[in-house]
Subunit: 375 residues, 2 copies
């Protein structure tokens, strides 16, 4: 374990160099057992080769571990640790150590969603981040974000309001909260069943180049990433791109095309295959089936007789909609022309009524202008 | 021709009955030559059978044609007329007569786009309808809409402002402008190279059940339909559905998920395959290749030497972006790992820079994390 921590603290060993070392030597122990010539062949920076060969970080690593464990509820996970988060381990260049604090195990066991967006967001973005985080957290989803101003803070706060779980991934050391005026928010997260996570050693100050690594952990811990607002060329778009490269689902909230802050999210939907999100269900329905099933109302109810029941009629149907619904069966698709014959309505009217029923989720359209009633 | 007009004026013969009659008898002349028993077998309404058998609309049809031709610039097209719009003829149940007025031939020769949306729209919707219509009309697209309040009016006006062409499809007779306070707008459309179109006989008043037929003509005349704003269960969503059934491209403008008026457009993008539109180029790029090529700046320039030239560098590139761009070729895709080696940048940073270049349209991502420079 000390070797992992030492390796993580070695100057010139970032995630890519670490990945290369591990690919070659299998473990931190293996790295420290390697010959200097072997290290040199991996094209590491000279100071990294030097440091590894001299094992000059080992004492510092021992002290680091002590200091982490002295913080209440904090711990240090390393890559070959069983407790290391499974989803994060699967990304291309996982951090080799993970500093955690708070109820991290419970938080990361639940389905996690990254919620990210602009620091300088609009009121709309703030409201939506908070609303969706609240809706999802209250249904058991852990909201993972970056503790930044704007959307990040709104997402953490939304989850807390719902009494749900939230994880703040830092671009600094566990003991250096950034921005400083979010120290209270960080405390609240810890007090209320949330967690802080970072790959950076204690005392690491906020440095611009560390934040992309932070973003990759947000998506790496999560089943998907929801981008709430993002301007052109913004960090949130990079997080979205990284999430796609990690094979994570990417979700985006659309917004007015006249708003700079929605340019990036609209772009993700238009050009990058992000799923458009209008409400929390749009996120839940893309989660793995067993997670989605727990969150969403069952589409099919198994009843004692063994036959599926029709869904109850929404109470706000018009007479026309009600009689049209009565013509539809859950088993036999009806062609729109047949429905026109049976109902006496013309195709334009029928289209209107069917669309209304579809939007209320009681009817489904099949290819070839056929329709069935939903179960 | 008189037969077509008479058939269109026959009580109980709407587009569906007309389509059935034409399928059976081939032409209006054929319909009037049919035996009463044959007509009865088509399950027409009794008054329709009666009227056709007695040819009791023929005189009225002759008068109608005279009256239409007495209106300045007005004419009447019938389904087997060479001048009848080709795209409209291809839909499932085209109107058998089309009353036209103004520069209809020029308008319908150009690529047409239906622009529709809520009557009670927001300021956002109005601005966007006008902006996109202006942008497209100034590039030779005819903006087709329904002369209604709200989005329709903004679309017509946007096209007129750009000095472009616009067609108003009516749900009433050519001589009955609805709503009445749009009579001035209708006049302006005619004066400035636009046109009015309807399937309904002179004197037809505004009746709710006629408007879905009007909507089907808007999409039928057009290559695609752009929905700017639409509430849940709105008429514009029906137009979108009809457009899809007619195999027309459907476009939608996203909006804030907190706006009722954007619920429908967001829904179309999320669930119905509508293309998200942020700017006019998003519409143009989905048009048939030859139309798109005329509107959009060429992606490849043929130069005298016969080799394609690289697109000029945008002037606002950072140094990092510029040196990254220099590493990319238009012919040989570069893998992101190779780019990392060559540039000395790590993958997270590279992702950020590449995304910025992609959004400025100078780089394209290929499958498997490979990138090429655009021509």
């Amino acid at each position: 374990m000390k070797e992992w921590i030492a390796l993580n603290m070695t100057p010139g060993v970032g995630p890519r160099a670490a990945a290369r070392l591990l690919e070659r030597f299998g473990s931190a122990e293996g790295v420290y057992g390697a010959l200097r010539s072997e290290l040199e062949r991996l094209r590491l920076r000279p100071e990294a080769v030097e440091s590894i060969a001299l094992r000059d970080r080992h004492e510092e690593a021992a002290r680091e571990l002590e200091r982490v464990r002295a913080l209440e509820g904090a711990d240090l996970l390393v890559l070959d640790d069983g407790a290391y988060p499974q989803l994060l381990r699967e990304i291309a260049d996982p951090p080799i150590t993970l500093y955690v604090r708070g109820a991290w195990a419970e938080c990361l066991e639940a389905p996690c969603l990254g919620v990210v967006g602009s620091r300088r967001c609009s009121t709309y973005g703030q409201n939506v981040a908070s609303m969706l985080s609240r809706d999802l957290a209250s249904r058991g989803v852990t909201v993972v974000s970056g503790l930044a101003r704007g959307i990040d803070a709104a997402a953490h706060r939304g989850a807390l309001e719902a009494g749900g779980r939230t994880v703040a991934v830092l671009g600094t050391g566990l003991d250096e909260i950034y921005p400083r005026d979010h120290r209270k928010l960080a405390e609240e997260i810890l007090e209320r069943g949330g967690a802080l996570v970072t790959q950076f050693p204690l005392g690491t100050p906020p440095v611009a180049e560390n934040f992309p690594y932070r973003n990759r952990i947000i998506s790496g811990l999560s089943l998907g990433v929801l981008v709430v607002e993002a301007a052109e060329n913004s960090g949130s778009l990079i997080t979205a791109r990284l999430a796609m490269e990690q094979n994570r689902e990417v979700f985006a909230v659309p917004g007015n095309i006249t708003s700079r802050n929605s340019f990036g999210t609209n772009y993700l939907i238009k050009g990058a295959g992000a799923k458009l999100v209008q409400q929390w269900q749009d996120v839940a329905s893309e989660f793995p089936a067993e997670v989605a099933a727990r969150m969403l109302p069952p589409e099919t109810k198994a009843v004692s007789a063994g036959t599926p029941q029709k869904a109850p009629e929404p109470s706000d149907l018009s007479d026309d909609e009600r009689s049209l619904l009565a013509l539809l069966s859950p088993d036999e698709p009806e062609h729109i022309d047949g429905l026109a014959e049976k109902s006496g309505l013309d195709v334009s009217m029928l289209s209107a009524l069917l669309l209304g029923l579809e939007m209320r989720d009681v009817v489904r359209q099949l290819p070839g202008r056929c329709f069935v009633r939903k179960l």
